[in-house]
Symmetry: D3
Subunit: 237 residues, 6 copies
Amino acid sequence: MPRQHDRRPDALRPVTFTRRVPRHAEGAVVARFGDTEVLCTASVEDRVPHFVRAQRGAKRGWLTAEYGMLPRATGERTRREAAQGRQGGRTLEIQRLIGRALRSAVDLRKIGERTVIVDCDVIHADGGTRTAAISGACIALADAITPINSGALVRQVAAVSVGVVDGGAVLDLDYDEDRRAGTDMNVVMDGDGNFIEVQGTAEAAPFTDVQMDSMLALARRGIAELIALQKDLLVSA
Amino acid sequence: MPRQHDRRPDALRPVTFTRRVPRHAEGAVVARFGDTEVLCTASVEDRVPHFVRAQRGAKRGWLTAEYGMLPRATGERTRREAAQGRQGGRTLEIQRLIGRALRSAVDLRKIGERTVIVDCDVIHADGGTRTAAISGACIALADAITPINSGALVRQVAAVSVGVVDGGAVLDLDYDEDRRAGTDMNVVMDGDGNFIEVQGTAEAAPFTDVQMDSMLALARRGIAELIALQKDLLVSA
Amino acid sequence: MPRQHDRRPDALRPVTFTRRVPRHAEGAVVARFGDTEVLCTASVEDRVPHFVRAQRGAKRGWLTAEYGMLPRATGERTRREAAQGRQGGRTLEIQRLIGRALRSAVDLRKIGERTVIVDCDVIHADGGTRTAAISGACIALADAITPINSGALVRQVAAVSVGVVDGGAVLDLDYDEDRRAGTDMNVVMDGDGNFIEVQGTAEAAPFTDVQMDSMLALARRGIAELIALQKDLLVSA
Amino acid sequence: MPRQHDRRPDALRPVTFTRRVPRHAEGAVVARFGDTEVLCTASVEDRVPHFVRAQRGAKRGWLTAEYGMLPRATGERTRREAAQGRQGGRTLEIQRLIGRALRSAVDLRKIGERTVIVDCDVIHADGGTRTAAISGACIALADAITPINSGALVRQVAAVSVGVVDGGAVLDLDYDEDRRAGTDMNVVMDGDGNFIEVQGTAEAAPFTDVQMDSMLALARRGIAELIALQKDLLVSA
Amino acid sequence: MPRQHDRRPDALRPVTFTRRVPRHAEGAVVARFGDTEVLCTASVEDRVPHFVRAQRGAKRGWLTAEYGMLPRATGERTRREAAQGRQGGRTLEIQRLIGRALRSAVDLRKIGERTVIVDCDVIHADGGTRTAAISGACIALADAITPINSGALVRQVAAVSVGVVDGGAVLDLDYDEDRRAGTDMNVVMDGDGNFIEVQGTAEAAPFTDVQMDSMLALARRGIAELIALQKDLLVSA
Amino acid sequence: MPRQHDRRPDALRPVTFTRRVPRHAEGAVVARFGDTEVLCTASVEDRVPHFVRAQRGAKRGWLTAEYGMLPRATGERTRREAAQGRQGGRTLEIQRLIGRALRSAVDLRKIGERTVIVDCDVIHADGGTRTAAISGACIALADAITPINSGALVRQVAAVSVGVVDGGAVLDLDYDEDRRAGTDMNVVMDGDGNFIEVQGTAEAAPFTDVQMDSMLALARRGIAELIALQKDLLVSA
């Protein structure tokens, strides 16, 4: 079964990162992976949570992330979490992942007693929203913290999904592929090709060592492209 | 004190209504009033709430609205309502207003046992988000229900804010004007210039009959412009 | 269709404001409009919310209002909001209105760093509970703050509902009229006949300029009567 | 230390039960024990909870109770439970007690598949609110169910508090006595002087067999008076 | 109908209190009454709640208790309270009872500004979980506070359930007996046989003075045995 | 730095799986990994969630998991989630992982329209609670579903944590090692050594391909031991 738009198994969808105008936030980027569109903002506040302040020694900052999906970002309308009175398990899992990934990109001692809040809100969803969020938010984060300390961003991070679909490994799954995937894996890496996070799940059947290696190779290739795209934008800041 | 961009007291900000592409929703419009930007979607579901189903007689549909603000739509970041576990009083008040206004635009008996859910999400806020939401959502609503029954939309509705700022009545307040306003009024009207809803509040000092008349005249003028803009888009559907 | 008790369109129901004995509260008044009965208390606490304390400059107080309905104040029992775990949108909308209206009656700089909490609890409901609440709470408020500073109450406020029922404008709707009303408007005014708040909603069909004028004239007349009733009680304090 | 109003240790405060007018509820009684005032309503709904419906065999009804306290029923204002998003442990404990006590008064098989909801709302509190609630609600309950089946009320129930204050047993404690009490006991009995519920708590020091007997004797005496007062009202129905 | 395991009406089930190893808590005891098994821990924290700190005069500590039931501690699985978003009324009622009972065992002035948190978690339930919790937690409490001040434990407390089953009074009801009981009573006493708390409820029919005396006599006998068992363990500490 | 108890890097802690007696649950196992102790129960209910029932075609069952931690399972007391009114993000993330892992072990079409609820409650925590939970729950699950259909368990699943501590890869981290780990990975595999889930996180610095391979090799070795331990127990059922 061919991929949409004649995409090869190792091809990303068309990806763009766009700085948003107008904006209130210290950093604001729209990340698009095909029809997936995520607005990523980075806000800086002059205080840190209690558990950071309570730690002995040098003053440092904190970074936290929140993730949301507009109700009709999806094919069928999703119930609004604010109206339901709580964030679901999927949302919490994703925003914890985004926060961990981006914290690894920052030297928190270099931003002083400040908190960076990264908000990733999905405007339109077609698979891979959490990896698009991480990849775009990295630029919003850079825009927000570089004015504070030009050395605060210690590495770029980017993320992509890979999976086994119809028996073969593919890169950057859209929603349709994600539903058919036997295995689904999200990979976060830095600019040197080292791992920040790997989360792989066998949806249908257990997956083998060989399949894992194939997926990781595709992820490495895709992330290198994303890192290059980010670099273009960061240089132009 | 002059208005931003040399705007006259009776002038709207630059207003655009744009159908969104890509979209999942049956109707999807981005409304912009100056720097205020609201994504309005209309979703159709094949069921009605219990209290509608329970009513005797002919089958009919229902319309409900939800309103949200992305956390960094505002100058200072607003806490995410989903993370706080509840929608605030302001949010509930606004979405009840939007729902009432749009229900008056529809003949609910003509859409069968369906529910239209209107979601208005503020991407960027600079005053007048609720009136931008109503004005834009009317088009999303039309796009969603006209395919069901071409006569279901019984009237256009549009809304604008007016107020008394520095002693004079002005149309379509931005955030800065809103903060300085002595009186703040939201007006919803139909295409014939009749009232759907009027909500006026004395923020600083009580307002007089004369001030009320001035504000209503401005509102009538602004809404006529908005109705015309909507008509252009509806014709082009 | 004649009004209950041969009431003319411009007539209030029998209205009484009664100071409550015994009472714990600094101010406590029972407001009755026909069969609608609301207990209004004003409590004074020696602290202010964070957002008031945080403001620069002179020390000032705050006023907030809460509204509730006993479960069987209504014809059919309403579910208890405390048991449901949240206040509904209607409740929040009403208590925000009451708070705004009463804040306009007080010079918050004259009560020091204190918070006045106005509680309006509906014991029996027959339409017009929010306007009865405002009208009665004004007296409870006066009783609570006058001992602190005899100049703290800067104006009386009173409220009444008006509407279009069976095509004609009527004053002070009971529950039955409210259900049949094509338009429903709540008006809050001060002792000089100026507006504090106007909230008008087309329930069935849009309403015209002429209807609006008729309703406002009735409101003005009714509120003048309520202001006089309040004055009698305030003088006798 | 003498009791307020020269009350003897074995004397109730002035007690009245008054049917409320106007009322929406099937039964509505205001119970006053001194300055304690509780509005008790009984509402009948034509459905039963799932766990009642699920039981095999003959059709039967259900009775449940809810308890609330107006925020300024107390000397210092209590936070509104609806605004806090949950009922406190004290409230739940009290309404469970009221429900159990009143269920023992009804033959639930005789009211068909109906639910009686008893609401006890404290308008003014001066100790003994839960026992006043039970004693007054019994009459509201009778008024609500006797029209359904004249044999549904199988016994009267009434309740009173007793305690050990300054070393001696006293009947029907007011708030001041309650705070000083070494032991505090709530007793619910039927018209034959048998026990429905006993809840005794050592507040300061453990209490003895002898003290328990003294308290139970006072409770028996007080409840007999309350049963007689109820009977007068039930006969006059 | 004979009791399970040929138990006589005045016999406890096999009861053991076992200190838990390994443990993190300052005190940790597993209480078993037949097949009922409750893990009781006492944790000491170096702070007190606001309402304790706010009191004038000498510094003192606080004790609070929490109760929980593992979902499959029961014959049919009970829904997890954490997943439901709130503790039920039964849970709150029980943990309030446990807290009151254990506070009576401690001189809070002797533990300084510390809070003891007693957690009672039911691993397996077969009736009498709250009384097993109190009886076992007393030992965990002693283990936690005696190192702080050897005189802080001012009395032992133990608890047992009694009831009227098939017309006769019985001691220490298991779940099956509890369901058949006409009356159910929980009694908490100290080492001198004085009362800390009595909670008796007529489940089926009101109970008499004579039945109450029989139940209290059984409770006194059972609690004396429990106090002796506790003493063995406390001596061996 | 040597491991506690002279453990080699590739050694599990002492692991035991013990069937629990007495038990109410269809399956009940206590899993111990060193000082980590988790009670795993599997409960079978004769109904399925709506989204399972709604699917076309053959009838099938469902499996869901819940995870909890007793408040004093940890070195410092953790606040009780039931008392806080919600499950935290970590809890939701873990129970979603447990659910996915165990669903992969079952052929849901072979258990009919039933739901298996797996509860994993941590009695004592010393690192690796989620992997101990999965490994133990697999046996509880087998005990619960094998009586329904002896072929319903289609594979064993077991899990273990691995990490990079002080620069070297180690198997089965205790709490102290977990806090020092630069990378932390949880691996779930089946009896054939294929992957069910991999979740690796760089806590301090990104990790390399080589480190990942070392960790996965250790995980494979540890899981093989756990699978063998499970097999012993399953054979003895």
